[in-house]
């Protein structure tokens, strides 16, 4: 095989050498192009926002609010419950959701999975991660569903919001960490903010899709009886779109979970931080323990939301 690679390399070398004048001539055509420092522009915009008292104060309010929800409401509450009670409650809930199908895999998984997390002493880290994910999901729902409804009702809004959602999802999540730190310092809150930006789009998109997929005849039926547009929304469109919207929420939860390791880089505590430490110390045992705990949490959240969704569909 090696002789083929050698032959190819010498061919490419010869080609590069012989076409160099042509390449240089074309390159000269762009010589006038200055460097466009849009990175600097964004940086000065962020600096300006940070230094403008009014805007900075609003960001502080937002930080306090998110900290209140994630730490004081979710985390403090979860920490009040002894692990064994927590495990039993979740097992009972999953049993309730799946009772009609008589499939007992989920309660078994919940019970033993959570027991495993407790046994490797990652219970508190799991609670931190759970609080982060639930806060990010809650904010995504509160912002995302109304936005999705608005998109579903207006083509203009859809045209504007779709590229923004594309941007939010394709921009590497690491990049969000920088402005998140700039505005919200370090810890849980910037982690939540970065997770929301990355995880919200599916909820918005699928709400929009769900609203748009309602059959025309049902919309016409609703209109023909003299519904106001709010009645139409709450009595026809949202009930019809419910499963689609829930699929979006499920995706949002999964994406928020996938952000926890990245968020650990800016000091967000939890399972993600343990994994991040394990990687930086090259500690394979610790990495797998924390990683598997994260997987267990992910599977439980995924199956629970899906079971909840199916349970609701009579």
């Amino acid at each position: 095989m090696n002789w083929i690679a050698d032959l190819w390399r010498s061919f490419i070398g010869w080609l590069a050498e012989s076409t160099e004048p042509v390449y240089n001539w074309f390159d000269g055509l762009l010589a006038f192009l200055p460097r466009i420092p849009f990175g600097d522009w964004i940086e000065s915009l962020v600096d300006w926002m940070k230094n403008t008292e009014f805007i900075a104060n609003r960001f502080n309010d937002l930080r306090d609010f998110i900290a209140f929800i994630s730490t004081d409401i979710f985390l403090s509450f979860f920490q009040l419950i002894p692990p064994i009670i927590f495990i039993l409650i979740l097992t009972a809930v999953s049993f309730w959701f799946t009772r009609k199908k008589r499939a007992y895999g989920l309660p078994v998984l919940v019970f033993f999975g959570l027991l495993l997390i407790e046994s490797v002493n990652y219970w508190n880290d799991m609670l931190l991660t759970l609080s982060l994910v639930l806060t990010a999901t809650l904010i995504s729902i509160v912002v995302g569903i109304p936005l999705g409804i608005w998109m579903g009702k207006s083509n203009r809004v859809q045209q504007i919001v779709t590229p923004i959602l594309d941007f939010m999802q394709t921009m590497p999540a690491f990049v969000y960490l920088l402005p998140a730190v700039a505005f919200f310092s370090i810890g849980m809150v910037p982690g939540v903010v970065a997770s929301v930006i990355f995880a919200m789009p599916p909820t918005v998109r699928l709400t929009n899709l769900g609203i748009r997929q309602v059959p025309t005849e049902m919309i016409e039926a609703s209109d023909s009886f003299g519904s106001t547009s709010l009645q139409k929304l709450f009595k026809v469109q949202l009930p019809m779109a419910k499963t689609t919207i829930m699929a979006g929420v499920n995706q949002t939860i999964m994406l928020a979970l996938s952000m926890v390791v990245i968020a650990a880089m800016i000091g967000t505590d939890g399972l993600g931080r343990q994994i991040y430490f394990a990687v930086s110390r090259n500690d394979l045992a610790m990495g797998f323990e924390a990683g598997i705990c994260l997987v267990i949490l992910a599977i439980i959240l995924d199956r629970l939301t899906q079971a909840f969704n199916l349970n609701k569909m009579k």
């Binding site: 059959p215 005849e217 016409e220 609703s222 009886f225 009595k235 026809v236 419910k242």
Partner: protein
């Protein structure tokens, strides 16, 4: 005074409807406007009146603008021009609030594909119109139950739409429309999605209901038979324009132009009507399940002297006669198989009425109508064939017995 008065009602689909409206006033045709501007004329200056308490059928082929027209009547589609007068008020000029009021109180609509809400029970579906008016629960339920009873769906209140057959779903659609007690019913191809026999049952039922209720009904269809059967007056549309308005008799005897004439010349009854137009619902017994006693009981109930025998999947097996069955009952015979006569005259669904006439005049028992899988779809009795040939209505009400 007419209940509904429609003047110059026009719908243009496209970017500059005003321009197209002007071109229409200059007597340009639909094609010219499409070629010059790319705009489509949905409904072209339709004017007509609907009298109180009549069934007014709007009939046309697909693309003739009839479904658009009916949606202009309750403004599910906004008219480009023209007026819709309801009890002297112009619907086309109403604001949203007035329009909602009319939709809630005066007119409701029945849809081709039913438009039921799958997440609501039958009762909740029928209650929908009352619910959005803010009627209280007890009142709502009472009216909805009354309306369900009217269409013969008592006992199905707690089912969901997907648990019901097509015909029953459309009854729910009808009940939902009636629950508001509107003056005007708009029915958009309401029976087109149903099987032929069910469809005929529904037509009969609508006529029965209309006897009692005396609503003003605007009924859209593409089916001339249906139009002739249920319409007090018929309006024929072509390319978005009204071609002719008249009673069924008028339309058949004095077609306004070639287009209508071509429509109705097919209604040479003996040629056009086939077995499925004149067949009636058969009394049957099930070979696998029913014995002589059941057979005898059914024949007695229906006052007939012979009854068809089918398998569970409706496949025709043969016929049994009353005298033989009653003998078997006296001898306490439990099995009916030995009594079944397999020679039964059968015809297919599309056998023309002319051929049926000859067959039925010689046959002593009813003729069975079977499909390609030999499933029994209906039976032909002589009086029905005669009635159809003589031009009186096809498939009359006795069918229910």
């Amino acid at each position: 005074m007419a209940k509904l008065k429609i003047e110059n009602l026009t719908k243009v689909f496209g970017k500059r409807p005003k321009q197209a409206l002007k071109m229409l006033e200059q007597k340009k045709t639909k094609e010219e406007i499409l070629n010059d501007t790319g705009m489509t004329i949905g409904v072209n200056q339709a004017s007509f009146e609907v009298e109180e308490g009549e069934i007014f059928v709007i009939m046309g082929l697909s693309g003739s603008g009839k479904s658009t027209l009916v949606r202009l009547l309750n403004r599910l589609i906004e008219p480009t021009g023209g007026n819709v007068w309801i009890d002297g008020e112009n619907l086309a000029q109403m604001n949203d609030k007035q329009l909602r009021e009319v939709r809630r109180k005066k007119m409701s609509m029945v849809f081709q594909k039913f438009g039921l809400f799958p997440f609501r029970t039958i009762l909740q579906n029928v209650e929908y119109g009352l619910e959005i008016q803010g009627k209280d629960k007890g009142n709502r339920k009472e009216q909805a139950l009354k309306s369900l009873a009217l269409v013969g769906l008592k006992g199905y209140e707690e089912q969901y739409p997907d648990q019901l057959s097509g015909g029953m779903q459309q009854r729910v659609g009808l009940a939902r429309a009636l629950a508001n007690d509107p003056d005007i019913l708009l029915m958009d191809e309401a029976f087109s999605a149903l099987d032929p026999l069910i469809r005929k049952d529904m037509q009969d039922e609508l006529l029965d209901l209309q006897e009692k209720m005396k609503k003003t009904i605007v009924f859209i269809t593409h089916d001339l038979d249906e139009a002739l059967r249920i319409g007090d007056r018929i309006m024929i549309m072509k390319d978005g324009a009204v071609v002719q308005v008249g009673t069924p008799e008028d339309i058949l005897t004095h077609p306004a132009d070639d287009y209508v004439e071509r429509f109705v010349e097919d209604v040479d009854r003996s040629k056009v009507f086939t077995a499925q137009n004149v067949m009636i619902r058969p009394e049957t017994i099930n070979l696998e399940k029913d014995g002589p006693r059941v057979a005898l009981q059914r024949m007695r109930d229906a006052s007939i002297s012979s009854i068809f025998v089918t398998r569970r999947n409706r496949e025709l097996v043969g016929i049994v006669h009353a005298d033989e069955v009653s003998k078997a009952v006296k001898e306490n015979e439990k099995n009916i198989r030995t009594l079944v006569k397999n020679e039964v005259p059968t015809v297919s669904l599309d056998t023309p009425i002319n051929d049926l006439f000859e067959l039925s005049s010689t046959a002593s028992i009813p003729i069975a109508v079977v499909d390609e899988n030999r499933r029994l779809n209906g039976i032909i009795i002589r009086s029905k064939v005669l009635a159809a040939l003589s031009g009186s209505e096809v498939n009359s009400h006795e069918l229910d017995s």
